[in-house]
């Protein structure tokens, strides 16, 4: 069916206000930690203090005797499979004989007050035999390393992806090498892991949680509870940010076990410290690169060895490895590529999904290399990038042809041509160090740097990536009303707004209700990989088109008179075009769509104290179609902020497998004082394969912001800066 889109207020391409905005500003939006039920108990978790230990004995008697305690449960009480995991079910719900990271759950408690529950957890006696942890990912690869998961076929290697393209073993007139290190970043969403589990009369469970993918939670929870999936009904509670950290389970099975055991609703809410142990982080990485180029700056080859620390459990490490490998040379034409990328098990905190995963780590390395190469060639760094930039029709190192717009050169030129910000005024608040009064301008040097990145949108490598939408059209009180029902997780990005916009545009009906996301409708897939506008957007569009076709069969004209008291409802499962797995040389059309962003960073650095102030962070991004221009800007600015955090401040510091800074006092995320103005250029070059021509937008800004800022600091200081986040001592060399 072909149909011209209908012009309607609040449709696609406009920026209607969020339907949940009013509730959120009034404090009335129900987040997962705000839920309440009569006779509700509070859950708490006892976690391992050791990164690697044998669990000899768990004594629960003392905890059970505390007044107000209703249950103390261990692995012996897990009703079903005591394992979960996104890609490999390798993680215990509650530890059995061994704990593999500091913070691994060992026992859970339900009590009538959260403090009672915490004290009871502390009263559980656990006897550990402490083992020597494997904390160096390079050591984990050695043949004599302790094997952390004996059942895993490839030892401590979760996944190794090779990419071989073109003639191997080339030499080049100009060669630069470098080794780069990326620290462990945390998603640091503000709403802690939390939810409410309510035991149901049919022996099942009703779970209200903040998550990114309801159905993958449902299947894992059901497996561990030993229940059929239909007895695990999940409703999305209000989500206080996600950024990848809610793809894995946290308290879902624990709260459900306690609720089923006690017969009462159980609420679990992690505190901030516990949150740092309650979800996966961004993979730390060590990346060794060699770039070879002609004397006039054309890339001849790139070889790289990338090592990603997956921590104690697999989580989404396999996908992170594939991204780092397949996107490892960046958005550049490279005739010869040789990449080996490894993700390994260690006894460090488990790592998994965070905005831009795999692509973030690689981008810091390949963009640092491009700057180094430009310097070796005596070329302008933007000119070198433009010379080698991919464009539509280019071949990626996987052999995949880029078959839609890839305006890498244009994005770079856009940020380059932005007017430069004014020199710092004679105002302490504009100095590095701010009102700490560390400088009045002496020792302050300005630097400018550029970065550009590439990200795959959606799930890759042949994954059956789909979303389900149910759309209903009826006449209520004399006017047409559309309701849209999906299981897609609104995590802050504005998907509820977008679903309504699509329905308005497709059906020409202004009054659209987006129903709460739950498992009574089919899977929408994950709110991750920049995919929901594309995939759930595509599903909502397709379901609306099915409704429109049924309406057209009834007759033409005014909806109210054609429809009468009839109801039209269609449920559609929608897939993007299929992708392929990678072969043993990393070849295959593995990705659905590529997305690109470029940044220019301007920084002032106090070179004596090593303090950095980012003065301006300009971004240009191709979004295919700006479905909601205000939300696009919000994604770009928010994503850039997380990239800034990784560049200059954010790192979970892990020493001997133990996290040293699990708090917002010691793990710093950018405040409003740290964030500069962020001018934006948005390109809308339609992707003919995607709904409305749109391109996923969430991740690219996080990817290129970091290397642009570090390049600017290098320009100001002359320091090599091969590790992020950049610390003051890296700048001062002290």
């Amino acid at each position: 069916m072909t149909k011209a889109s209908v012009e309607v207020r609040g449709g696609v391409g406009q920026s209607p206000t969020r339907p949940d905005g009013g509730l959120k500003v009034k404090g009335e939006f129900a987040y997962s930690s705000d839920l309440f039920a009569d006779e509700m108990l509070w859950g708490a978790t006892l976690r391992s203090p050791h990164p690697y230990a044998r669990v000899k004995l768990v004594g629960v008697g003392g905890a059970l005797r505390i007044p107000g305690v209703h249950a103390v449960l261990t692995h012996a009480d897990v009703p079903g499979r005591n394992r979960f995991g996104l890609e490999h079910p390798d993680q215990p719900v509650l530890a059995e004989d061994v704990v593999r990271y500091q913070g691994e759950p060992v026992a859970i408690v339900a009590a009538d007050h959260p403090e009672t529950a915490r004290r009871a957890a502390a009263a559980i006696e656990v006897e550990y035999e402490v083992l020597t942890p494997v904390t160096d990912p390079a050591a984990a690869l050695r043949p004599d390393a302790t094997v952390l998961h004996p059942a895993h076929e490839t030892g401590n290697v979760v996944r190794h992806v090779r990419v071989r393209r073109g003639e191997q073993g080339l030499r080049a007139p100009v060669v630069v090498t470098g080794e780069y290190t990326v620290g462990m970043q945390d998603q640091a969403f503000l709403g802690p892991e939390s939810g409410l589990a309510v035991p149901a009369e049919d022996g099942g469970i009703d779970l209200f949680v903040a998550t990114q993918w309801l159905h993958v939670d449902q299947s894992q929870v059901a497996e561990s509870l030993g229940l059929p999936p239909e007895k695990v009904r999940i409703t999305l509670a209000g989500v206080g940010g996600a950024f990848g950290a809610r793809e894995d389970l946290s308290m879902q099975v624990h709260a459900s076990m306690l609720a089923l055991h006690t017969g009462k609703p159980v609420k679990m809410v992690y505190g901030r410290e516990e949150s740092f142990f309650g979800h996966v982080h961004r993979h730390p990485a060590v990346l060794k690169y060699e770039h070879g180029a002609t004397a006039d700056g054309r890339l001849l080859y790139v070889s790289a060895r990338i090592l990603l620390d997956g921590g104690a459990y697999a989580s989404s490490t396999t996908a992170v490895v594939a991204n780092a490998a397949t996107l490892g040379v960046g958005p550049y034409e490279v005739p010869s590529v040789h990449i080996d990328c490894y993700g390994v098990y260690t006894n460090n905190p488990p790592c998994g999904a965070m905005r831009g995963f795999g692509a973030v780590q690689a981008c810091f390395a390949y963009e640092s290399q491009m700057d180094k190469l430009a310097e070796a060639l005596g070329m302008d760094p933007v000119e070198l990038r433009v010379l080698n930039a991919v464009s539509e029709g280019s071949t990626m190192p996987t052999g995949q042809i880029i078959d839609s717009a890839a305006p890498v050169a244009e994005l770079l030129k856009l940020v380059q041509s932005k007017p430069m910000p004014a020199p710092a005024a004679d105002d302490l608040r504009e100095m590095p160090g701010g009102v700490s009064n560390t400088t009045h301008g002496e020792g302050v040097v300005r630097g400018v740097g550029y970065g550009v990145g590439i990200k795959n949108v959606g799930f890759s490598e042949g994954f059956d990536d789909y979303s389900t939408a149910r759309v209903r059209l009826e006449v209520i009180a004399g006017e047409p009303v559309v309701s849209v029902h999906t299981a897609a997780a609104e995590v802050g990005q504005g998907l509820v707004t977008l679903q309504a916009q699509i329905a308005r545009t497709e059906l020409g009906v202004e009054k659209v209700t987006v129903l709460p996301a739950d498992t009574s409708v089919g899977s929408a897939g994950s709110s991750s990989a920049s995919r929901q506008s594309y995939v759930t957007g595509g599903a909502v569009q397709a379901a609306c088109q099915a409704v429109r076709a049924s309406l057209d069969e009834l007759g033409h004209g005014d909806i109210v008179s054609v429809l009468g008291d009839r109801v039209i409802e269609h449920t559609v499962e929608w897939r993007h075009r299929p992708t392929e797995s990678l072969d043993s040389h990393g070849q295959g059309t593995a990705h659905v769509q590529y997305a690109f962003a470029a940044h220019r960073a301007v920084v002032d650095v106090d070179v004596e104290l090593g303090l950095v102030r980012v003065v301006e962070l300009a971004c240009a991004q191709d979004v295919g179609k700006a479905m909601n221009p205000q939300a696009v800007e919000g994604q770009i600015q928010g994503g850039s902020a997380q990239g800034l955090g990784l560049a200059v401040m954010e790192e979970i510091q892990v020493v001997d497998g133990k996290v040293r800074n699990p708090s917002f006092t010691d793990y710093l995320i950018p405040t409003i004082l740290d964030m500069p103005p962020m001018p934006i250029d948005v390109l809308e070059l339609a992707d003919p394969h995607a709904p409305y021509g749109l391109r996923g937008i969430g991740e690219p800004p996080t990817i290129s912001a970091t290397p642009a800022i570090v390049a600017a600091i290098r320009a100001a200081t002359g320091m090599a800066l091969t590790r992020i986040p950049v610390r003051p001592e890296h700048i001062t060399g002290t």
Partner: protein, 157 residues
């Protein structure tokens, strides 16, 4: 223990309060006012900002007993029924709300700022809101919202 306070203009009583409970806990779990948020509970993020006798404080850092006999105004006490106040309206319009978990604290902190400085400069906005963490927006649209609210409130006064 029993704690009495005036919350959003009403006299409220909480019974069986454990001495270790914070004002934030009592508001959220005993008085049915979960609008003030629990993002860090150590005074770093500002998500629980409320007015205590007209002074903006982190409710997580106030022991419940310290609020005895005092006036508390929370994010729930700002709107007039369904009508958003100008700060709330500006946050929604400017796109300053994404996940929204930081928003209640920022709304209260913005009220506090505009009461002190009716037409704040960007530097003053940044300084005043530096205690409120937001992970979604990068703060640009929060600045837009504060500027918009201040201009409207200035125009209305």
């Amino acid at each position: 223990m029993r704690v009495n306070m005036e919350v959003n203009g009403e006299d409220r009583t909480a019974d069986d309060v454990w001495e270790g409970e914070s004002l934030l806990y009592v508001l959220r779990e005993r008085l049915g006012l979960p609008g003030s948020k629990n993002a860090c509970e150590q005074g770093e993020c500002g998500s629980c900002t409320v007015f205590l006798d007209d002074v903006a404080v982190c409710a997580c850092l106030v022991a419940a007993g310290q609020a005895q006999g005092r006036k508390v105004r929370t994010v729930e006490g700002l709107a007039d029924g369904d009508e958003l106040d100008p700060v709330q309206q500006a946050y929604v319009e400017a796109g300053a709300v994404q996940c929204g978990f930081c928003t209640p604290g920022l709304i209260v902190a913005t009220h506090d700022l505009i009461q002190r400085i009716p037409s704040p400069s960007d530097a003053e906005i940044r300084e005043s809101l530096a205690g409120n963490l937001c992970r979604c927006t990068g703060y640009e649209k929060i600045l837009d919202a504060v500027r918009l609210a201040a201009s409207r409130m200035e125009g209305a006064s």
